[in-house]
Symmetry: C2
């Protein structure tokens, strides 16, 4: 069966890193992977071409794809668009919502070769390997009512943080299953001492726990979780949390590694269809300079092969190739280090392909 | 004029550290400060005695006080109270709301003597001095509607993140003025690419900026702020944000110093009345052992003298005494370090009093 992969380069450095992913997909095909690759527009580039961040044609292709690879969206160029529904980010949010990609897996792991890139002391992060499971299609990102309106003679802005039991249960199961495959520890993050919606969250996690007796469930308030990530990140194995807290904590966790340019992520729906993208953003400040790190994007290809296409061997080949390139001392500017060779986006792509 | 100080020891280690603050207030009085000190119950201890976390008598005393000193509230003992309105935290939230303490100042500064306590590399945190200005009486903490209810055959939890222009303006002015007194840099943190309420937030900050031409205003998304705090915290001077983001970021920032047991905080209302408390929590796991660090609480006394009682000289005396004790190598367990003398809560109190 041919795997249909949709490549969405997006904005900023997106097209540059997507080009390296495209080359890698090509190499996979030559190595025997039955795959077809299509491209489409999303985000600011779609807005520029079609006036909307998620054109119907893109959504149509996305629905039909076996898996989606996304570069990144957004940039200051589009920050001034008054209509929030037209901003690049809405392209990404629209894909997540329309495809039901509720399960966001954000690994924060430290490559031993890059240990010195972390801002934390080496002994605190050596061997770090956290998996943040973030709910991605609910919570305050999508809650209604929302808006800005006049009340008592002044404007008021409002959003709604909402979760139903079934939404919580669904992401909870993803997290428990992930913990079963890993270190068997699951930490659910909430603010149950203040927010009712997270009281329900905690309750549902507690209700699920007996079905996964081999997993040790704990709970942590979000403020404490932010502290513990800084203080002693290795205490975590799998973390599960809502959309907003997950946004914040997954970025903090990724940054602990000092090499966010290395981290892929997956967003899965109930059928196992998935969208794969780097944890980093569109980095408009360095776009077009051929200096962005393509490795998170290339590792997103590996993650896609593993989680959506069931091509574990090919995924491992990619990961091994990336490891070899790091061993050889090649580094893009974001992970540059004395004594190592600083290379461009394309040169890094070349090196991974050569090692593949 | 006699300053009436209300001391609220609270729960967990609260009473132990409050006792050291009480001794310090005594010493201030002997040194000429015209002060009277009263005590009252709040949090879990109030619930145990009166069935509510904020008894009317406590609120009455708080209203009349020139300033309030709070230890900490909460603990697992009360986590099972089903009625959220009875939980210890609601005592704290009730005080904030009833007294209109909207301006929360949370300094994250690194004592040079404790530089090695940070989990970050020394060069990244040496000289760290951030002031987080958190809105404290609005946002999702207090937004209506809120609750858990049945919808379409299942339970749904919901909270409302809401800010009016005037609420944003009020905290914005506190932050701009704080920046004027400090490094003249203000970073406003929001999630304006997703949440309407923070679009309004950003707009109001922009509108205020021309009134403070000496302050350089910047904006950052909350996920990026969490990353930047880990990556390069010294880029920040004053940070202003809403209640929930402020809760998360101020804890992360405090933990960057590695010595959250050293950090006081202030919560001010429009009349300058304030509540002062350590940034750390009630630490029920070490309560009653005489090992908690009383310095954040004693430094809260100094902060109170400075911000609410206008007794700058006395505040400086306390801060100098704490500095001397650290110079002398005294450390409580949380900041223990090889070659330094580990002391108890009371011994640390003794030492500060002796140096005062
Ligand atoms: C671009 C933005 C809408 C998005 C989010 O907040 O989810 C991004 O920060 C992410 O984490 O994928
Ligand atoms: C105890 C809790 C309600 C409180 C908060 O979330 O505001 C605490 O975490 C704080 O930051 O003061």
């Amino acid at each position: 069966m041919t795997h249909n992969v949709l490549l969405l380069p997006g904005d900023g450095i997106g097209p540059e890193i997507a080009a390296q992913a495209a080359r890698l997909l090509d190499a996979c095909q030559k190595a025997g992977l039955d795959i077809s690759v299509e491209e489409a527009l999303v985000g600011g580039s779609a807005y520029d071409a079609h006036g909307v961040p998620l054109p119907d044609a893109t959504l149509e292709k996305a629905r039909k794809a076996s898996a989606i690879l996304l570069g990144a969206v957004g940039g200051p160029k589009w920050d001034k668009i008054d209509d929030l529904s037209k901003r690049p980010e809405k392209g990404l949010l629209g894909l997540r919502k329309n495809l039901g990609l509720f399960g966001n897996l954000r690994p924060a792991m430290l490559y031993p070769q890059l240990a010195s890139a972390s801002s934390l002391k080496p002994e605190l992060v050596a061997g770090l390997d956290i998996m943040i499971v973030r709910e991605l299609t609910g919570g305050i990102y999508f809650g209604q009512p929302r808006g800005i309106e006049e009340r008592n003679g002044e404007r008021v802005g409002f959003n709604t943080y909402v979760y139903s039991e079934s939404e919580i249960e669904r992401i909870g199961r993803v997290a428990f299953e992930m913990a079963q495959k890993r270190g068997k520890k699951l930490c659910s993050v909430d603010k149950a001492n203040v927010l009712e919606v997270t009281i329900l969250w905690r309750e549902v996690m507690e209700r699920l726990a007996p079905e996964y007796p081999d997993v040790e469930l704990s709970h942590m308030y979000v403020d404490n979780a932010a502290m513990q990530l800084v203080r002693a990140p290795k205490q975590f194995d799998v973390v599960v949390t809502g959309n907003m807290f997950g946004d914040i904590l997954s970025d903090a966790a990724a940054m602990l590694t000092g090499s966010i340019g290395m981290l892929p992520s997956a967003s899965l729906n109930e059928t196992g269809q998935g969208m794969y993208e780097p944890c980093h953003g569109s980095a408009p400040d360095i776009a077009g300079q051929n200096i962005a790190n393509p490795l998170a994007m290339m590792l997103s290809v590996a993650m896609m092969l593993r989680y959506s296409l069931n091509e574990t061997a090919m995924a491992e080949r990619i990961e091994a190739a990336v490891g070899r390139v790091l061993d050889d001392g090649l580094r893009t500017a974001d992970i540059a280090s004395p004594g190592m060779q600083t290379v461009s986006t394309v040169e890094m792509g070349d090196a991974v392909l050569a090692a593949f």
